[in-house]
């Protein structure tokens, strides 16, 4: 097994030398630079299990509880297909779902800027409340801080959440096996392009809506089916590329995907062509990938497709054995290329 990264001389292997004296926007981009920031600076904080997953599982008596947190700084606060409140609920719910956990309770912390419009705040709170009701999760505790005008851009929200993991459910990169099928729950890039279109004032013929959605019902369906789900990962900043590279690195496996099978709507593809973006790197908020044994792939796709948010589910690749810790893509021409995380910032403050 060859791994181009580990074959590099020790001097350049992770952790990379920390060469920045300041944080730059690219450190928040969900790509390689953020990855390096977490590994290089935040790692002393973590006493977790090192599973490099969307959340962590803690034992609590006989119960297993998944715990996760996420902070939302999206700009603008309202965008086609969603708003910061809906995003803040679904984002944390989806991270719990990716641990195979039924979302039970959320906290919500608000950082408000002096002068923020109260009516806007009420609309956002109503949206959070509706989103929580849609999931069936309670928002049980919270916190509010106000900062001076100019010290915060209107509103930031943090949510954290806990969820219950049923006995027998084991989901994470460590369970990824050679031969597993890689299934994608739907088309790529809607959230990132929808945000970019609003922010940059880009006019496209079709209005692109964010895919912002609650993924728990679809995951719940898989867990109730006789499908042995090995790994789940929602695709957020950094897109499918970052999600797969993280899993490949965490599981030391070689993931291969086929370009011709990856669904991207014509509207998103057109926008990506114009803007010079790779749809594999563009952010999503309602898509995830699933790793299951190959013989259960069709059943998984069928189960997913019964949910509207996953109606575009399809098999996009498999886990191979030639290399380790890398993702490669078979192009439409039949050639192969490496997929890497985007380096830094594609579009700041997207979630």
């Amino acid at each position: 097994m060859k791994n181009p990264r580990t074959e590099l001389p020790p001097a350049v292997q992770c952790p990379l030398p920390w060469r920045h004296s300041h944080i730059v926007m690219a450190h928040g981009g969900g790509g390689r630079m953020m990855h390096d920031l977490i590994e290089g600076v935040f790692s002393p904080l973590s006493t977790g299990n090192g599973a490099r997953h969307d959340g962590t599982i803690v034992g609590c008596g006989t119960e297993r509880i998944a715990y996760t947190t996420d902070t939302f700084v999206v700009s603008p606060l309202f965008f086609p297909g969603g708003d910061i409140g809906r995003l803040a609920v679904f984002g944390t719910v989806n991270d719990l779902a990716m641990c195979g956990a039924r979302p039970e309770a959320l906290s919500a912390g608000f950082i408000l800027e002096d002068g923020f419009d109260l009516e806007l705040l009420q609309r956002i709170v109503a949206s959070m409340s509706a989103a929580a009701a849609e999931v069936g999760v309670r928002i049980v505790t919270g916190d509010t801080k106000v900062v001076e005008r100019g010290k915060g851009d209107g509103l930031y929200i943090n949510t954290s959440g806990i969820g219950r993991v049923r006995a027998g459910v084991e989901i994470g990169p460590a369970r990824v096996r050679k031969g597993d099928a890689i299934i994608l729950s739907g088309d790529l890039g809607r959230h990132g392009i929808a945000l970019m279109a609003v922010r940059e004032g880009l006019q496209f013929e079709t209005k692109i809506q964010s895919d912002c959605a609650n993924l728990w019902p679809a995951v719940d369906e898989l867990l109730q089916n006789p499908v042995d789900v090995h790994c789940l990962r929602d695709l957020t900043r950094g897109g499918l590329a970052s999600a797969l590279v993280e899993i490949a690195e965490a599981s030391d496996s070689h993931l291969t995907i086929r370009e011709g099978t990856i669904p991207v709507s014509d509207a998103v593809l057109g926008a990506c062509e114009i803007l010079g973006l790779d749809p594999l790197h563009v952010a999503n908020e309602g898509r995830f990938c699933v790793f299951v044994p190959a013989d259960q792939a069709e059943a998984t796709v069928k189960a997913l497709r019964s949910h509207e948010v996953c109606s575009g589910a399809c098999i996009v690749g498999e886990v191979g054995a030639d290399l380790s810790g890398v993702v490669s893509l078979r192009t439409v021409l039949g050639t192969d290329r490496l997929i890497d995380m985007p380096s830094g910032e594609q579009l700041p403050r997207i979630c």
């Binding site: 060859k2 181009p4 074959e7 590099l8 001389p9 001097a11 350049v12 990379l16 060469r19 300041h22 944080i23 730059v24 926007m25 690219a26 390689r32 630079m33 390096d36 940059e200 880009l202 070689h254 291969t256 370009e259 011709g260 990856i262 669904p263 991207v264 014509d266 593809l269 057109g270 062509e273 803007l275 010079g276 749809p279 191979g320 030639d322 290399l323 890398v326 490669s328 192009t331 439409v332 021409l333 039949g334 050639t335 192969d336 290329r337 490496l338 890497d340 380096s343 830094g344 910032e345």
Partner: protein, 375 residues
């Protein structure tokens, strides 16, 4: 994935048929240079080099405007961007290009108002909305970006917007092709001309170049089928001993280019000698604002101090830009030089040759075969 008018140019079977024809036609070893960095990225992204027969080699040319922008010019940008009254607008690629004292991303992190825009007209809009600020657009690019930059200046004058200026680093492709062909170490048998540059400039000027240096030039597009067809047309000419200018990209390029765009360029800009990062001064290869538009020149408006720049001794991007070094043969490639910590611009820009190999194919040489391999 399919997109009207793009999907058909990415169709695997059509490309395979053209590749088979290249294999049939090519009897001798040929080295073809694609000039444009956009073409380099498409070639590496789709693995087209991997499909070509061993006797047809591709060299990657200097067609990355961000890469050839001199470090001194970026230093000017850093100083201007750090001024409190300035909103400094740039294409995203420029943010992380290292100069001497840092990069724009660092200026931004230290409080400089640096913004990514998609068009100089967006920068002009900012100037209108912020009359109390000075808006500077970093006008980097080849013939392709020059018309829009000229338009922005012309509009600024027409609308009497005075708080707008350009930091101009515009360069022209044909003089760089001459420079490469004049080099005694030139290994180029034929060129794929840059399709989008020719959409603006046309290709009438290329006939003299093809005759003088006895090289075929095929104006070529950017999709896999375009590139394969361009290579085939070039190989056919080489095999037949022809040195002609041909147009593969006729759906976009007319022989005389876009006369309106050209007129606009020449109204606002004039041609001067320009230094290219990694290549040195190339006669007649740059554009500056004409005397009557100098008031929109950010260098004159802000008079930044000159900072002498020498590129990192480790960085060999000059050789890469001249097609004399394969990025993967650079000892620092993927070692001390990565997109996160670049030694040179070719590792940063979305059109840089080093970035293309790093992003799409850096595992290629780990097999030790020297060929782009399937993992």
């Amino acid at each position: 994935m399919s997109l009207p008018y793009v999907g058909e140019y990415r169709e695997g079977e059509a490309v395979a048929r053209v590749i088979a024809e290249i294999r049939r036609v090519a009897t001798r070893p040929w080295t073809i240079m694609e000039v444009c960095g956009g073409q380099t990225h498409a070639l590496v992204r789709f693995g087209i080099e991997e499909l070509l027969p061993d006797n047809v080699r591709l060299l990657h040319g200097p067609g990355c405007p961000v890469c050839v922008t001199p470090a001194e010019m970026i230093e000017n940008g850093l100083q201007i961007a750090a001024r409190p009254e300035v909103i400094f607008c740039t294409f995203g690629d420029m943010l992380r290009v290292p100069a001497v004292t840092g990069d724009l991303q660092t200026v931004k992190a230290r409080g400089g108002d640096v913004r990514i825009v998609y068009s100089p007209m967006d920068a002009l809009d900012l100037a209108k909305r912020h009359p109390d600020r000075e808006v500077v657009f970093f006008a980097v690019g080849f013939e392709t970006t020059a018309p829009a930059n000229a338009m922005a200046v012309a509009q600024a004058r027409a609308q009497k917007i005075t708080n707008f200026s350009l930091l101009v680093s515009q360069v022209l492709i044909p003089p760089a092709m001459v420079e490469i062909l004049k080099s005694p170490e030139c290994r180029v048998d034929g060129f794929l001309g840059a399709g989008h540059v020719c959409t603006v400039s046309g290709f009438a000027g290329y006939h003299e170049l093809a005759r003088r240096f006895r090289v075929p030039i095929v104006v070529t597009g950017f999709e896999p089928l375009d590139l394969a067809q361009g290579i085939l047309m070039c190989v056919r000419q080489l095999e037949a001993g022809r040195n002609e200018v041909e147009n593969q990209y006729s759906r976009s390029v007319r022989p005389d280019g876009n006369p309106h765009a050209l007129e606009l360029i020449h109204t606002v800009f004039e041609i001067v000698d320009r230094p290219w990062r990694g290549l040195g001064v190339i006669p007649g290869s740059g554009l500056v604002l004409r005397e009557e538009y100098r008031e929109y020149d950010a260098e004159l408006r802000f008079s930044p101090d000159y900072v002498a720049a020498t590129d990192s001794e480790l960085c060999q991007s000059g050789l890469v830009l001249q097609g004399r070094l394969d990025p993967r043969d650079c000892p620092e490639f993927g070692q001390r030089c990565t997109p996160e910590h670049p030694l040179g611009a070719t590792m940063v820009s979305s059109e840089g040759g080093c970035a293309a190999y790093y992003r799409y194919g850096r595992h290629a040489r780990t097999s030790g075969t020297g060929k782009n391999v399937r993992p």
